[in-house]
């Protein structure tokens, strides 16, 4: 269950008017993305592949793929402007103020070094710890991410550990420098259901213990729903809706969110007609004018197909939508009831 951050906690990350181009600047892949993440808050970016959620998160980490660039907009981590950083600037940030975990943990570790050594080395380099201090701290971290017998695990090679254990090791690496923001890009996608739930609980626990801000990227609305205080729904390179998770799920303000909810896992174990979203998203660079979802939207009306991009506009307290008809529509939510634990 999402934990609520203290009201008006300081902003850790502020992204404003972000525009990302691919193909060496020829194609626009992401436009007009603005959001903030406050201390202790968890924000989820959700959308289909190609919707721009991963590019957005990669730009925050300064690891955009070749040919991709931030063309407009700003991204601030605390008081540091990220889009202006050079390589050395990024080096100072990553692993210190900014931690990240990705989908395939095994490919981020050196197979020929023990995980303990890989965890301890940055501690020595970054924090100037001695060999034995770094070792002690590494074992402590391995324990803190829920690995049993951390002294044992310290001496293991990556191939000796399961995917879930490796992801815990990487989370330990990511939080070793006590970052302000942890970015998790499809971090649980490759894990088994049971392990995924454990890792999501671990992220929640780290947030509570360390006041960590979390930016979680997932194609799975159900995962985001379980973990995040607020969600941003991406479609075809734009944010189409954002707001507090509970409210967005209970009463979506954009037809695409409604459609995503219909096809998402609902924790129902009965036989039923599985819903689908007709059509497919526009290809990168197609950038239809007007509402980009209009062709797949059952509520599309003539005013949705204007020749101007649809602006993101307020839709109630802390919520925004990019649907021009949002006020006329009564979109169906989950009927989700708050469980009081």
């Amino acid at each position: 269950m999402p934990l609520s951050p203290p009201e008006q906690a300081p902003e850790v990350l502020a992204v404003e008017g972000l525009r990302i181009t691919v193909n060496g600047g020829r194609t626009e892949a992401v436009r007009d993305v603005s959001f903030t993440v406050r201390a202790g808050e968890s924000v989820g970016l959700v959308g289909e592949s190609g919707s721009g959620k991963t590019l957005t998160c990669r730009s925050v980490l300064g690891v955009l793929p070749p040919g991709c660039a931030v063309a407009e907009g700003t991204a601030r981590l605390g008081d540091t402007e990220l889009t202006a950083l050079d390589r050395r600037g990024w080096e100072r940030l990553r692993g210190q103020r900014l931690g990240a975990v990705f989908q395939d943990p095994a490919s981020y570790l050196n197979p020929s070094l023990t995980v303990g050594r890989q965890l301890a080395e940055p501690l020595r380099v970054r924090q100037g710890l001695s060999r034995s201090e770094a070792r002690e701290r590494a074992v402590q971290l391995l324990g803190a991410v829920g690995l049993h017998q951390p002294e044992e695990v310290f001496h293991r090679y990556p191939f000796e550990l399961s995917g879930g254990m490796l992801q815990r090791v990487l989370i330990a690496t990511a939080v070793a420098g006590d970052p302000e923001l942890l970015v998790a890009d499809e971090a649980t996608t490759a894990l088994d259901t049971v392990v995924q739930a454990e890792v999501l609980d671990l992220l929640a626990q780290l947030r509570a213990e360390r006041g960590l801000a979390l930016l979680l990227v997932s194609h799975d609305l159900a995962v985001v729903a379980e973990v995040c205080d607020r969600i941003l729904v991406f479609y075809a390179g734009e944010v189409v809706e954002d707001g507090p998770t509970e409210q967005v799920l209970a009463a979506p303000a954009h037809p695409y969110t409604e459609a995503l909810l219909r096809v998402a896992s609902i924790g129902d174990w009965g036989r039923r007609e599985l819903a689908v979203i007709p059509g497919r998203p526009p290809e990168a660079g197609e950038a239809p004018t007007g509402c980009r979802f209009a062709d797949r939207c059952e509520y599309a009306a003539p005013q949705c197909r204007s020749d101007q991009p649809v602006p993101l506009r307020p839709a109630g307290e802390g919520r925004r939508t990019r649907c021009v008809r949002a006020d006329d529509l009564a979109l169906a939510g989950t009927g989700r009831e708050e469980v009081t634990a």
């Binding site: 269950m1 289909e48 592949s49 829920g146 049993h148 995917g163 088994d192 259901t193 049971v194 392990v195 995924q196 739930a197 454990e198 999501l200 609980d201 929640a204 626990q205 509570a208 194609h219 799975d220 609305l221 159900a222 995962v223 729903a225 379980e226 799920l249 459609a259 995503l260 909810l261 096809v263 998402a264 896992s265 609902i266 924790g267 129902d268 174990w269 009965g270 036989r271 039923r272 007609e273 599985l274 819903a275 689908v276 979203i277 497919r280 989950t334 009927g335 989700r336 009831e337 469980v339 634990a341």
Partner: protein, 343 residues
């Protein structure tokens, strides 16, 4: 083996054991231990379990791709275990059993058009169909999976992920199979395409009177179409029965942990995974190598001394089966909802 085991089962797996790397004098690595299950024509059987539980090995055994060391497999009443050489080739080419892989991009030849890909199984089933009949059946198969005939001349690389998986299904159904084995067919797809493909299975099993075995880790969408669910853990069948009953009232603590762990946009599971995770420290015997007793004991909150004996699969009311010494009383040992942050 169940009492209601019947001959009308299209797929019948009896006491199947599989071991890899077994040679004279070496026992090898046993990955399936005496698994028995069946699927009838027109029925969808869902197989769930974590990585390494033997789901894929089970499916591959049916098409002769796993080293079976015990038990037997019958398809449409005929034993297929032990088929060798010409007999195995004929069984495979007949197209009565089709196997669908997770990643269509890697299982479809990138240099063949959709038309060639779907026609290939017909051409291989030598003498079965003339050129014209083949062309007709390719178009029929495309229609069956809801793909536009205009896509017939595209290459796999020019299709979306969902379309590619539907091409793979068209390729599977074009031989008019009796049994379709789908190994994680939707895990590479987004939610909408996942539902699209699962709905397709649901339609095809009726239209073609097909038995379908679907391996998937998305429990909620699988529950939408599967009639029965079999749960594997470490190479053993730990529970099986009608889908809704198994998933909403699990008898095995592992099934309960799985359903409680499944993410949902509506949190209304009656159990939280933290209530089912094993406490620490574990009893020493559960960590012994080689493992003794119940394979789930090391992770089971309810494991105790009796679990040192391997539990056998026992029949229950409602054509359910479970292999757990505490199937009837583990729920009584549940503590109230725990705060989510306890480990």
């Amino acid at each position: 083996m169940t009492a209601e085991q019947s001959t009308d089962a299209l797929l019948q797996v009896e006491d199947l054991s599989v071991a890899f790397g077994r040679r004279a004098g070496r026992p090898g690595q046993q990955v399936l231990h005496g698994v028995s299950l069946q699927a009838r024509a027109g029925e969808i059987l869902g197989v769930i379990g974590e990585t390494g539980s033997g789901k894929t090995t089970l499916a591959r055994s049916v098409v002769g791709l796993s080293p079976v060391t015990g038990g037997r497999i019958l398809v449409d009443g005929a034993e297929v275990t032990g088929l060798r050489g010409r007999a195995l080739r004929e069984f495979r080419r007949s197209g009565a059993v089709q196997y669908l892989f997770q990643d269509p991009l890697r299982s479809l030849d990138p240099d063949l058009t959709v038309r060639e890909l779907i026609g290939e199984p017909l051409a291989v089933a030598a003498g079965r169909a003339g050129r014209e009949e083949r062309a007709d059946r390719v178009l029929g198969a495309l229609q069956q999976v809801g793909l536009d005939a205009a896509l017939a001349d595209r290459l796999p690389g020019q299709l979306s992920g969902g379309q590619r998986q539907r091409v793979a299904i068209a390729r599977a159904v074009v031989t008019r199979p009796r049994l379709l084995l789908a190994d994680e067919p939707v895990s590479a797809l987004d939610a909408s395409n996942r539902n699209h493909v699962l709905r397709l299975f649901d339609r095809l099993r009726t239209e073609l009177d097909l038995a379908v075995v679907v391996i998937s880790h998305d429990l909620s969408s699988l529950a939408g179409i599967a009639d029965r669910i079999a749960v594997l853990y470490r190479g053993r069948l730990v529970e099986q029965g009608p889908t809704t009953e198994v998933l909403s009232q699990p008898l095995h603590p592992y099934t309960a942990l799985l359903t409680a762990s499944a993410p949902s946009v509506r949190r209304e599971h009656d159990l939280h995974p933290a209530q089912l995770r094993a406490g620490l420290p574990r009893p020493a015997w559960t960590l012994a190598q080689p493992a003794e007793g119940c394979g789930f004991a090391a992770r089971c909150r309810f494991a105790e001394e009796a679990c040192r004996a391997q539990p056998s699969l026992q029949p229950r009311v409602g054509s359910r089966e479970v292999a757990c010494h505490h199937a009837d009383d583990w729920r009584a040992g549940l503590t109230k909802t725990e705060p989510m942050l306890t480990r």
